[in-house]
Amino acid sequence: MGKVSQRVVHDFLRHDKKFPHVWCSGCSNGTILGTIIRAIAEQNLDRNNITMVSGIGCSSRMPVYIDLNTLHSLHGRAIAFATGIKTFKPDMKVIVVTGDGDSTAIGGNHLIHAARRNIDMTVIVVNNNIYGMTGGQYSPTTPDDAKATTSPYGNFDRQFDICDLVIGAGATYVARSSAFHTMELQKMIVDAMNHKGFSIIDVISACPVIYGRMNKKGGPPEMMQAMRDNTVLNTATAKLPPEKLEGKTIRGVFKNVQCPEYCEQYAKVVEKIKETSDE
């Protein structure tokens, strides 16, 4: 676990251009962006060779603040834009930052197909269980009975478990962490970026101003405490009695396997054609 200085975060931000940022006080986006930066810095990568792509939403505003190649694309389409970049320049490291609505509602099709292709990119889903940018409508990850502006009587629309969804679709690195567990998240981001194939991290995050207020979750500190108290690491679940697991969200790495990666497979086809035509 590499430690990086505070200075590094400053170095990676476009601090002279686009601040102050758009996020509300207490939002997890800043913490998660900081963690992404530390994970990149820890690897000593060439910044020119990293592209961050996002869709539309609060978390999708991240690319504007970070000094990388950045693309703030269309709602739901970040992974499709990222696929274009990756398949044209397979040596480029591609990170997608997206929200729960962006990636699993409007962008659900691109998410499952990128997972199926096992195309080499790292998707970080900032999962705050709500559409924040538009003022608090329920998303495919809004819990049962939760209040949102479009579920004023409590949400009854069933949820996606993002990790289950992408495992089913064929993703080869799947993990969940939270904005509270930044050291754990940092390690997962490093591992995901070094994983050859489609990697995705579902990051539990807090929207205190909209989701928190509508659902009486307290302020930012209380929501951070909830991330600590209401989650359990998957490696610890076996040791805990069932009653201690009730209502808990499981964190951890759920899948980490090697499978043929899309761009490598394509390169093999190109190589094969060359060999056949040389004969």
Binding site: R14, K17, K18, R47, N48, N49, T51, V53, P63, V64, D67, L68, N69, T70, L71, H72, S73, L74, R77, A80, F81, A82, T83, G84, I85, T87, F88, K89, M92, N109, H110, H113, Y266, V269, V270, I273, K274, S277
Partner: protein, 384 residues
């Protein structure tokens, strides 16, 4: 394929094949698409040809993903391309708007079929004249080319790439279903005879680079991801560096740029064919496959001593206003045969000085069949 050859080659090709060959000749090195009748041959040919050249072909999960992928690839430096038809073209509209506001070069071919909705998938129609101009929300000008033959499908595909690169925008090529599937003789020119335009590359140090830094002609250099410039691209209104802005003067300047780079270069963009118009007192205005019927009708009319001519736009957007005004001044009637319910007619009305002017005669069909030369000739005789 013929485009590999060094000498001009006479061959027989479908319109869709000519589009694929033209794209390769233009230097296309990236295709993302989704199968749809009647454009699928374009994808099939490029699935064969691009890997042979070490370039990228990818079949995406839908047309929305296809347009997104070609824009992403273009930002990484590709000359990228997709081909589709009506339903797919509708799905691509948001992406086309993104390419326009972010000034990212790419080419979209729409082999038109009958609509609306699923419509008549294997029949000709010219229903996307207006959609290709106004289909994406918000104001942004369009560059749309419209060939009338297999030979011209090849040439205008190359031109579409050239204009996309030069003007940093999404260029649309409209084809008619019958042209996509019609086989005609075509001479593929020697590669040395083909003019290729590539995007201007920045020469400034990275910290001086502005993603939307225009010159006098509103054309600006374009860096690619991975070249050290680390620029930001957003579909939000943005400043010259590419960062989002709400400031009226910056948002206004951006919108003005998008307009001016087309309006100030209209002579470079507009192409028309004027056929026997010199002494004509009746003109036919038609594009694409309907211009083929129209040309035959001109010949038949001339054989009968009628002074009929044809004005055919090869670039339909920006609209050839000057040529159309001149035509309207010089002739008594303009017959407008088109496979839609009057989309060209509507645009021509904009240029008629008086609303009571009855010079414009529409001739429309939307049942999946063509308008024949005889029918056009009959319409001319009816108005005389």
């Amino acid at each position: 394929m013929a485009q590999n050859s060094q000498k001009p080659v006479l061959t027989l090709m479908q319109g869709n094949e000519a589009v694929a060959a033209g794209a390769l000749a233009a230097g296309c090195n990236y295709f993302a698409g989704y199968p749809i009748t009647p454009s699928t041959e374009v994808a099939e040919i490029l699935a064969n040809e691009l890997p042979k050249r070490g370039h990228t072909f990818i079949q995406m999960e839908d047309e929305i993903a296809s347009i997104a992928a070609i824009i992403g690839a273009s930002l990484a430096g590709a000359k990228s391309f997709t081909a589709t038809s009506g339903p797919g073209f509708s799905l691509m509209q948001e992406g086309i708007g993104f390419a326009k506001i972010t000034e990212t070069p790419c080419v979209v071919v729409n082999v038109q079929r009958g609509g609306p909705s699923t419509g008549l998938p294997t029949s000709p129609a010219q229903g996307e004249i207006m959609q290709s101009r106004w289909g994406s929300h918000g104001d942004a000008p369009a560059i749309v080319l419209y060939p009338d033959s297999v030979k011209e499908s090849y040439a205008l595909t190359i031109r579409a790439f050239n204009l996309a690169e030069k003007y940093r925008t999404c260029v649309v090529l409209l084809l008619d279903e019958v042209l996509g599937h019609m086989r005609e003789a075509i001479t593929i020119p020697d590669a040395s005879e083909i003019q290729i335009i590539n995007r201007i590359k920045p020469t400034v140090p990275a910290n001086w680079y502005k993603h939307y830094d225009e010159n006098q002609k509103y054309l600006s250099p374009l860096a690619s991801y991975g070249e050290g410039y680390r620029f930001h691209v957003t579909g939000l209104a943005h400043d010259a560096q590419g960062f989002p802005t709400n400031k009226p003067q910056e948002a206004g300047a951006m919108m003005e740029r998008l307009q001016k780079k087309i309006v100030h270069n209209i002579r470079d963009l507009v192409q028309i064919e004027s056929y026997k118009m010199e002494d004509a007192n009746i003109a036919i205005f038609a594009a694409g496959i309907m211009a083929r019927s129209a040309k035959a009708a001109v010949k038949m009319a001339r054989a009968e001593g009628l002074k009929v001519g044809l004005l055919r736009p090869l670039t339909i957007w920006p609209f050839p206003d000057d040529a159309v005004r001149k035509m309207l001044k010089n002739v008594d009637y303009v017959v407008v045969p088109e496979l839609n319910q009057g989309q060209f007619l509507h645009e021509l009305r904009r240029l008629v000085k008086s609303t009571t002017d009855s010079k414009l005669i529409g001739l429309q069909r939307v049942n999946g069949t063509l308008i024949t030369p005889t029918e056009i000739l009959q319409k001319i005789k009816d108005v005389l």
